[in-house]
Symmetry: C2
Subunit: 283 residues, 2 copies
């Protein structure tokens, strides 16, 4: 089963990598640095889980996956933008990202900052330019993406994270932090897949997709905390400040089960395999 979902992820990575490269099929001598920095940050061999979710939900609801592709690219660009800014010295100060020097180590901090901004602009532009769907669909997708990214979404979660470095959070606040910081983009991925296939907010399928994504997103984060703990990274705020490893694992499994259950009526097995794959990964 894991071989199968890994193959599906890889197949999807190929499609996305091609589409993302195509978006950057232009050049400009004066602005070369900001274009190259965006490509460096974006085309870096990630697993593209978010993009995969957009595509897979569209497939699950019998949409045309080509309609979902620009939305999938957009969410990967928002994610890449956030990583570039997150790695900057004034944020997490990370010199490395996926085994390569982070963007600011290669291009300098100023160009890294601007390229993160530009990736965000390009993400929204890519949603807006999706000419396989109507302006109304794109506006819907746009709303979802903006709310999930903005000050009450991912960026709000990053804000909470900065303050959380200084004080211990209770479990509810920690769940909210994770829900915003990483969960909202994962839920947005499911929602964008729905919108691309014409499934709208009041539809039971939409609700099932959101439930799946919320649960899987939180389970993913719990597993991250367990892996960090095993790597010896002690964080002030982690699920392991509140739960034993075994209890944390059970919690992640329970969330995964409940997510799989929600989506079962519409799933050909791909989404359930993905959910299980994500909590059994060990890197």
């Amino acid at each position: 089963m894991y071989k199968d979902i890994k193959d599906k992820l890889l197949y999807n990575v190929d499609i996305l990598e091609k589409a993302l490269s195509d978006i950057f099929e232009y050049n400009d001598t004066d602005c070369r640095a900001i274009i190259e920095a965006q490509k460096y940050a974006l085309l870096n061999g990630g697993k593209r889980i978010r993009g995969f979710l957009v595509m897979q939900f569209c497939r699950a609801f019998n949409g045309d996956e080509n309609s979902a592709l620009p939305y999938a690219c957009a969410i990967e660009m928002i994610h890449a933008s956030s990583l570039v800014h997150d790695d900057l010295p004034c944020m997490d100060n990370d010199d490395w990202r996926r085994g390569k020097p982070s963007t600011h180590k290669v291009f300098g901090e100023a160009i890294a900052l601007l390229s993160g901004d530009a990736l965000m602009v390009k993400a929204f532009e890519t949603v807006n330019n999706n000419n396989r769907l109507t302006a109304k669909s794109n506006a819907r997708a746009f709303s979802v993406l903006a709310r999930s990214t903005g000050d009450l979404g991912m960026l709000g979660g990053q804000t909470m994270d900065i303050f959380a470095a200084k004080k211990e959070l209770d479990l509810d606040s920690l769940v909210r932090l994770y829900t915003m910081k990483t969960g909202k983009l994962i839920s947005a991925s499911a929602k964008l897949g729905c919108i691309a296939s014409g499934v709208l907010e009041n539809d039971d399928r939409y609700k099932a997709a959101v439930k799946y994504a919320e649960n899987v997103g939180l389970a993913f984060q719990i597993i991250d905390d367990i892996l960090d703990y095993r790597d010896g990274k002690s964080e002030l705020n982690s699920f392991l400040a509140h739960l034993s490893i075994d209890d944390a694992k059970s919690k992640a499994e329970e969330l995964t089960r409940s997510g799989i259950e929600a989506i079962a009526p519409y799933d050909d097995g791909t989404l359930s395999s993905l959910a299980e794959y994500l909590i059994t990964r060990n890197y």
Copy 2:
């Protein structure tokens, strides 16, 4: 005449300040810092020239100014976002902005960075949420705003600026730098006003608006260089590296005249007064 245009600008500042405040009429305890930082950066008593242009072009072409208001807010938010990021230590490292400590001096660099990102998201969201116009109009406005902001627009101009700090540019490259760094948002303002009033790209009025904005934008920048020179700020790249003060002034006047001429058939005098006001200001 100047009293008149100043009054019009002030009247418009009031409308915009109210609309921008209204956008931030929400709160969230966990995300308070990023919300407050955005408000601090945005509601700061600027002249709102860009927002004024959006509103005034909409009025000039008999549009409903309320339709233009969200677009005007959006362009002011993009502008504010760029200033927050521009002031950061890894960029211009400016501790002051309009006589107040810059955003990162008050909220710290990390929150300033995130609030700049959030302002950009909110800008695009505000265009998308303009419910007085169709999704198609908003998509058009969005395209204009994204292209003017992105890696071949304002952000590209900021990239050029970073490299220009190290080498002297010829006059053509300097004009391109200014056109991108500040000119594109000024032209975008004119275009957004057109779109809000239903005037589209192939219309002569649209072309006149763009010509006005391009000329006035460049004249504005030349005057900036002259004022900086008088303040004793010697920049490696400035119009004054290529032209005498008198020639630079003549160039600014010539651009202004030509901009006023382009828009004359549609102007009640407001846009011409604004253009003249902008090149006679001495601050």
